[in-house]
């Protein structure tokens, strides 16, 4: 499926996400830059809400996103500063999420009514990249913690 989501790690400090949308570039741009639209889809796993969504779309402007899980009270935020803005084509911004800071570049290319989005997330180290996405991944990580405990016990 050529349009499907692709996630790759071309180097040990980057994640590249590629996705094709069946819509013109202007719409995909709006959906990424207008707070009332972003709040409709940038939610993460099911059952999360996005009560905070502030976007000051200019070079040097800030954005702030906040998510909450009503069932257990968990909440977290992400924020950053816009570095480059080329309407409907390109956005470059910093992204601070917990302890991890990264640089994000989003490119939009349109062909035959479809838009290809390429998102490159660059971390300062492999550790921050791996750590940044551990938040909220409970089941898989719990098994990993147990395995880590076992390994530590074996090494002792």
């Amino acid at each position: 499926m050529p349009d499907a989501l692709k996630v790759t790690m071309p180097s040990d400090t980057e994640i590249v996400v590629t996705r094709v949308f069946n819509a013109p570039r202007q719409m995909v741009w709006d959906a990424h830059t207008k707070p009332e639209l972003v709040q409709r889809w940038l939610l993460g796993p099911d059952n999360w809400t996005m009560p905070v969504c502030e976007i000051d779309l200019r070079v040097g402007g800030k954005y702030r996103y906040g998510w909450a899980n009503p069932s257990d009270g968990r909440a977290f935020e992400m924020s950053g500063v816009f570095r480059e803005i080329k309407p409907v084509e390109r956005i470059v911004h910093s992204e601070r999420f917990g302890d991890a800071e990264s640089q994000v570049t989003m490119l939009l290319a349109e062909a035959r009514g479809k838009t290809t989005m390429t998102l490159t997330i660059r971390y300062d180290s492999r550790q921050t990249r791996d750590a940044a996405f551990a938040t909220g991944m409970t089941t898989g990580m719990e098994r990993s913690y147990q395995r880590l405990d076992e390994m530590a016990a074996e090494a002792a």
Partner: protein, 121 residues
């Protein structure tokens, strides 16, 4: 840091010789000599790779004191794959919602244009 073992797993996998060693061990355990054979590499060089794999928990050393066969341990690989999959799932959920929103915006489009045309006329 809870994710340090994932770090070790990915570091271990980020080398073609180590991936080839794991592929060989997936077929059954093997001694250092047997593992070194396919590569134009000395045993000490192979042993360095084996140490990285052992530290990541991807291989273990068998009981035979003489042969010391290496054995593949699948759990860390399963964890790494699960981690990548979880991340992909979250992104895919977001983009499915975005697909639905874009469909909504597309169907709202022509109506909004029609309104503008009536105002001009």
């Amino acid at each position: 840091m809870p994710t340090t073992h994932l770090d070790a797993t990915f570091a271990a996998l980020a080398d073609p010789t180590r991936r080839a060693i794991l592929a060989r061990l997936a077929e059954g355990e093997a001694s250092v000599m047997e593992l070194a054979e396919p590569f134009a590499m000395s045993q000490p060089a192979i042993s360095k790779h084996l140490k990285v794999l052992e530290r990541a928990g991807l291989i273990s050393i068998g009981q035979d004191a003489q042969r010391r066969p290496r054995k593949l341990e699948a759990a860390p690989l399963d964890d790494a794959v699960a981690w990548i999959e979880k991340y992909r799932e979250i992104w895919e959920r977001n983009y499915q919602r975005l697909d639905a929103l874009l469909d909504e915006l597309k169907s709202a489009g022509p109506k909004a244009n029609a309104k503008k045309r009536r105002r001009k006329g």
